[in-house]
């Protein structure tokens, strides 16, 4: 007869032989758990990553240049492959790696700057040049650091790093891709200097999952498994996916009827007269002031670690500060604010000087003749920029005693 908890325990113990009652038993349970995960990876491997099908690589096909970034939820982060007999350039950057015709905000039918640069440097040391782009739209400084760690671990022949003055020293927004944490948590843990910044953003679960991912493909490839499951599960979903008709213009009262929270009413009513829009110059200045206020301890530390990692790796590296549209520089306040960011980058570069590291802290906007921009920060084409960069990269390589001659010289 069952009267209390003791009786329940007795019944369970008699049925299951007191499983889980001793430390050794718990250890065996954990062992079976790991064995089960191993088994999943062996008997049912996930679909392999097809880089040609990732959104970043759709719309163009090039045997030598491609983005190796995976989905922003995929903990593997990147999928670089070895280019046997080739000369590999790892190129890290955000949306400014892309160019698009003016007015197109979705950078879909766009071109990549590295793609254009590769045309100027098709070969180096007699080997074909491959460019692995670690392209991360809206990349923040910590994302660039994670990508630098990942790229350096593949020992590329040249590393190129594009920094965006809007995000570089912006302590208001330091990370967009937390999927890279897991990888970072277990890579190069002996680099003690990086522990303070790692511990600021990484969590124990990143360490645990990162460690598990090293041995268990069921953990490492879980994003691919999720994709495999997605199709069959979607068919079971009761969600109505039909597209509703576009709403017509609602009257004020009808609009109020659509509100789902009182706050929506009180933030909109009583209706205030529209305020004068700030001028474009005011907006540009505001953006750059938001980007760096003269005090950014966290991003300072991250940029410092990034340079230290590059220095320790010995990989020839070229770092440049992205362009902002050149008409912005006509405003002396914007010019001064950009100089502040440039000077700060230079001071961190000075603390991390190394023979393998070149840092161009002056924005490309100052160094080149007028260029056509798609918007305030993205180039419309790389006609001026690509030959300039090709020249700069070859110069960087030559200072590391690596032969390189661009097809044509584009330096102004």
């Amino acid at each position: 007869m069952i009267r209390n908890v003791e009786d329940v325990n007795r019944v369970i113990d008699s049925r299951f032989g007191a499983a889980g009652r001793s430390p050794m038993s718990l250890l065996r349970v954990a062992g079976w758990m790991i064995a089960g995960m191993l088994l999943i990876g062996v008997i049912w491997p996930a679909s392999p990553v097809d880089l040609a099908q990732t959104p970043d690589n759709k719309g163009f096909s090039n045997a030598y240049v491609r983005s190796v970034s995976l989905d922003s939820n995929d903990p593997r982060g990147f999928a670089p492959t070895e280019h046997k007999g080739g000369f590999t350039i790892a190129w890290i950057g955000g949306s400014t790696l892309r160019t698009s015709p003016p007015g197109i905000k979705e950078y879909v039918a766009a071109d990549y700057i590295p793609l254009q640069v590769q045309r100027f440097i098709p070969r180096s040391q007699g080997k074909p040049v491959y460019i692995d782009m670690y392209y991360m739209a809206s990349a923040r400084t910590f994302d660039l650091y994670a990508a630098t760690e990942a790229a350096v671990s593949t020992s590329p022949d040249l590393l190129v790093l594009g920094l965006n003055p809007l995000w570089l020293f912006n302590d208001n927004t330091i990370q967009r891709r937390s999927n890279l944490d897991e990888r970072l948590a277990t890579s190069d843990v002996r680099d003690l200097g990086s522990w303070p910044i790692r511990s600021a953003l990484l969590s124990p679960s990143d360490l645990a999952l990162g460690t598990a991912a090293r041995g268990l493909s069921a953990v490492r490839d879980r994003w691919s498994y999720a994709q495999d499951f997605q199709g069959p599960l979607d068919r079971l979903s009761p969600l109505d996916r039909s597209s509703p008709p576009a709403p017509g213009r609602l009257s004020d009262l009808d609009e109020v009827a659509t509100f789902t929270a009182p706050l929506q009413f009180w933030t909109g009513y009583p209706k205030k007269p529209a305020q004068a829009e700030p001028t474009q110059n005011e907006r540009d200045l505001g953006n750059l002031q938001y980007a760096y206020s003269g005090h950014a301890p966290f991003t300072d530390a991250v940029v410092g670690r990034m340079f230290a990692t590059i220095k320790a790796s010995g990989v020839p590296t070229y770092v440049y500060l992205d362009a902002i549209s050149q008409d912005q520089l006509k405003d002396p306040r914007i010019d001064a604010q950009l100089r502040l960011i440039e000077g700060h980058l230079q001071s961190i570069a000075d603390q991390n000087q190394a023979p393998n590291l070149t840092v161009r802290s002056e924005s490309v906007a100052r160094l080149l003749p007028p260029m056509q921009f798609a918007d305030r920060y993205h180039l419309a084409n790389a006609r001026v920029f690509a030959p300039y960069l090709a020249d700069e990269l070859c110069e960087r390589l030559r200072s590391s005693d690596i032969a390189c001659t661009p097809e044509t010289t584009g330096k102004p």
């Binding site: 299951f16 064995a35 995929d74 937390s178 953990v219």
Partner: protein
Amino acid sequence: MRNRLRKYVAEAAIGLSLGALLFLALVATVGLVPFIYQGY
């Protein structure tokens, strides 16, 4: 003897079930559940 065998079988069943559950939870949190997928 029989009790011990029962114990080992129970341990294996619990361990494998936990492994399968953990696997499903990990898969779900990186892209299976739409609202998590949208909300990075």
